[in-house]
Symmetry: C2
Subunit: 521 residues, 2 copies
């Protein structure tokens, strides 16, 4: 067993054979000899961190994250307390955020998270969380808004002869971190075949903020190089691991999910009939989750063909659609799939390489590219109000769930902005269509289509008073329709206005739910 | 007097001499002879409209609007009632929206307005108003979301030999309307010198929604042609006018405006000191209004130089800065200036033509270009809350003032998003910093810097709890600081969360103001 190889057989067994149990894998993966003496253990690498440092890490929707150094840092901090600001691409896997939270390492975290332990700490005010549009983190970092990045941790498949990096299952903000960090720690993940080279499209708009255009005129048009350029002098440590990404939980679609998916498919079919879309639709973006996955899986048996994706994350459904011949090309910033799908993708990179590209998140979520390509954006709401304002982050208006992620980049700039949500939950004690949302992530200007298991509301071109009627009629759960309509009508009479509301009543439903466990009176 | 010339000497006297009082001006301005027989009166042109039509009109921030046909339509509707949906670039001048409202012509209006009479009708629910991001209207129209445009009304300086159109003081959505409308009515405005040709940069991304990139890599880079292409067969009527644009009201900056402007200038100076900006700053966008005007005017006596603008509208201050040599280039969709400035601009188009470009609003407000150029966006808020959510449209959360305009296009995609607002007004009975805004146009993710006459809050990279402390400390009026801090502290104790709020209290201040005329308890 090589002492420099961190692994834990996440999926039950180590995924490489005895051939690798010697130093040769190092020379295979580190093609620039001057860096060989940087190889060390996670424990040693973790000693490089100092209190108050700003750290950038790879990792986007649990893919391509730091699997050795950050956990080792959490271990170290148990004995030697220190605090850092941690900036990632998006969410991390392997409960790393939980470990860091428990070890009290996190002073501030950005731009996204999905971890239960971290979320609890954020909501208690113990960890500061800066919730950001995922396209903007690179802007803030390059603009010097957050301070200098002291250390970048980047998972790679290999280091090339010129010192440049082959990323793994995500790109995230790694290109910006590599360019800007004072020091770089690499995690070489030998569970990722080197044949992943060529899957990435690495483009860093030069000379921030004076930039040229990014010539992505279709999801499949490569605009950059295959590896991340880096100054080898900045690389201070290299660790090896064979730990795979945390697998995505693929939930079996339930009745409501299927209903939502069917309503949305019907909407698309009607758009095609009306001549506003063709059978090829337009590049699709789908947020993570069972609804998006169900909708995409539904396309397998549809009349749509030659589909494309311009999204943040490639999920199981993406590869199913590629395999079935329905999906022509998919661009994103990461691959986040189930264990089974992961193995299929890794085993068939030579085939998939022609069909997918992984890009920095400032490209996958670029406002200009999203507008240019006419992306159809499908994202999940926690709740929405009768005028179409969407809360996608804050439970009861105060407690963060995950974060806004890329939904704002896509919703505002897309051709069609769709939000999906169940009409009611918790035995219908909770309505997800409410008089007023207590936290607005996407306002009425950014929401075209709302879909619940009850139906869909087409809000395009509608004024707020028209939106209310359409939303209540098509999306609300029957138990709440009357009460919503009553609120809307009384608001129009009592106060009137472009967007009628009764401020003293606007949050009554939420308050009642907090007090009684039901929004029903 | 030529019967086909509509004029009213808006500024006291007709601005052309007797030389024009014969038909020769027609041949001068209509260079394609087949169209000469389309010349008619506004009254006749107004007869082309039918009930339920969708009408697109030129006009952006009161510039380059319809001055003959829409008022004639209002006159006609007094006797022969009809309703239309009216889509403009942005606001119209000459009380046209008021005339149309009084004549009950408007079923629906979009995407922006600033008219008192229309606003009142909207807030009563008598006219539907679809409030849109200004970059998106062309998207919706090209996408077929709103229905076919039956008639386009476009003010032009002249019609070229190939039938293409030279716009006047704005471009707005005219390029899209000309491309898509079934019929086109032109208003040839002979008060605009033909030397305006060359001021416009007409670019229509082809083949919606499958588009190429728009290669604007600096405000002054021309990417399109100088005239709007149009099928002459679609031109059904041409009217002539010499009525000038409604002049902008230039308010003398008051004490608070000057304070806001000074705080903002100080912020820019500190950014330069910190190395995040240079003395040339970055392309500026400034919303309409006295604060923006005061800030820009303030640059005249500053150390900043070689400035550029990438904005929606060129105001008096723009031309003052050009004249003083401080402003190198300005791009926008319209020129909206005082009477004095207007004359100066018209008399010196040969000079200004090298320094300005007017573009379609889907270019001036293009998300991709705004991000690419690193625009500094300065917009006005009605109020904002302790977490940095901005209400820029709805008084008391219900009654529309103007509309979101382009502020959303700029705020979300800019390099620096600044919102300005007075701290308190109405003898301090109204605080513009509140516990929670009852309408969100720009959420915390889209707001970097808040400026009031009390100071500025730099919110970049801050978590909500940090934002609250900074905002209250730096921006709130002293009369309200303690109460805001008290709310924030209690919300943290009572509920906690990423964004602490007490829902039952969140709108107490607004309710109290509605009931007692003061937010103070």
């Amino acid at each position: 067993m090589n002492k420099f190889l961190s692994h834990n057989g996440y999926f039950g067994k180590p995924i490489f054979n005895s051939l690798f149990y010697n130093d040769s894998f190092m020379n295979n993966r580190i093609k620039i000899s001057q860096l060989l003496d940087k190889v060390t253990t996670g424990e040693e690498a973790a000693k490089l961190f100092k209190d108050k440092m700003i750290v950038g890490t790879s990792g986007f929707t649990k893919a391509g994250d730091s699997k050795v150094v950050l956990p080792a840092l959490a271990e170290r901090a148990k004995k030697e307390p220190l605090k850092i600001t941690l900036i990632s691409g998006a969410s991390l896997g392997h409960d790393t955020d939980a470990k860091l939270t428990e070890a009290k390492v996190l002073h501030k975290r950005m731009p996204f998270q999905v971890d239960k332990t971290l979320r609890t700490a954020i909501n208690k005010g113990e960890v500061l969380f800066t919730d950001q549009h995922l396209s903007e983190t690179a802007e803030l970092v390059h603009g010097g808004y957050i301070g200098d990045i002291d250390i970048a941790i980047i998972e790679v498949a290999a280091i090339e002869e010129d010192g440049s990096l082959i990323p793994t299952t995500s790109v995230g903000n790694s290109v910006s971190f590599a360019a800007l960090a004072k020091q770089i720690i690499l995690e070489v993940n030998i569970s990722i075949p080197e044949s992943i080279k060529g899957v990435h499209d690495i483009f860093l708009p030069e000379n921030y903020p004076h930039r040229n255009y990014i010539p992505v005129i279709a999801p499949g048009v490569r605009v950059g190089r295959t590896t991340i350029p880096v100054d080898p002098e900045k690389i201070v440590a290299i660790v090896f691991t064979d730990i795979q990404d945390s697998p995505a939980d693929i939930a079996v679609p339930d009745e409501k999910t299927i209903a939502i998916s069917q309503h949305l498919t019907r909407f698309f079919e009607e758009e095609v009939k009306a001549g506003r879309l063709t059978d090829r639709l337009l590049p699709l973006q789908a947020g993570i989750g069972k609804v998006a996955n169900a909708v995409l899986t539904g396309f397998k048996d549809s009349n749509f063909y030659d589909l494309t994706m311009y999204s943040e994350v490639l999920q199981d459904s993406t590869f199913e659609l590629i395999d079935s011949g329905k999906l022509q090309f998919a661009s994103a910033s990461s691959i986040t799939v189930s264990k089974e799908c992961y193995q299929k993708v890794m085993d068939n990179l030579d085939t998939y390489r022609e069909k997918i590209l992984l890009r920095p998140q400032n490209l996958s979520n670029s406002p200009g590219i999203i507008r240019r390509l006419g992306v159809i954006a499908i994202n999940t709401a926690l709740e929405f109000d009768i005028y179409g304002n969407v809360n996608s982050t804050h439970v009861s208006g105060t407690h963060i769930m995950n974060g806004i992620g890329g939904s704002g980049d896509f919703a505002r700039n897309s051709y069609l902005s769709v939000f999906v949500c169940q009409a009611a939950s918790k035995s219908n004690r909770l309505s997800h269509v409410v008089p007023m949302v207590p936290h607005v992530d996407h306002n009425e200007h950014d929401v075209d289509i709302l879909v619940t298991d009850q139906g869909y509301a087409d809000l395009r071109g509608l004024a707020p008073r028209e939106r209310a009627v359409t939303i209540i009629e098509n999306c609300a759960h029957p138990d709440y329709k009357e009460a919503l309509l009553d609120y809307f009508n009384r608001a129009g009479e009592v106060r009137g206005g472009q967007t009628p509301h009764i401020l003293s009543e606007a949050f009554t439903w939420h308050i009642r739910y907090l007090e009684t466990g039901s929004m029903k009176s």
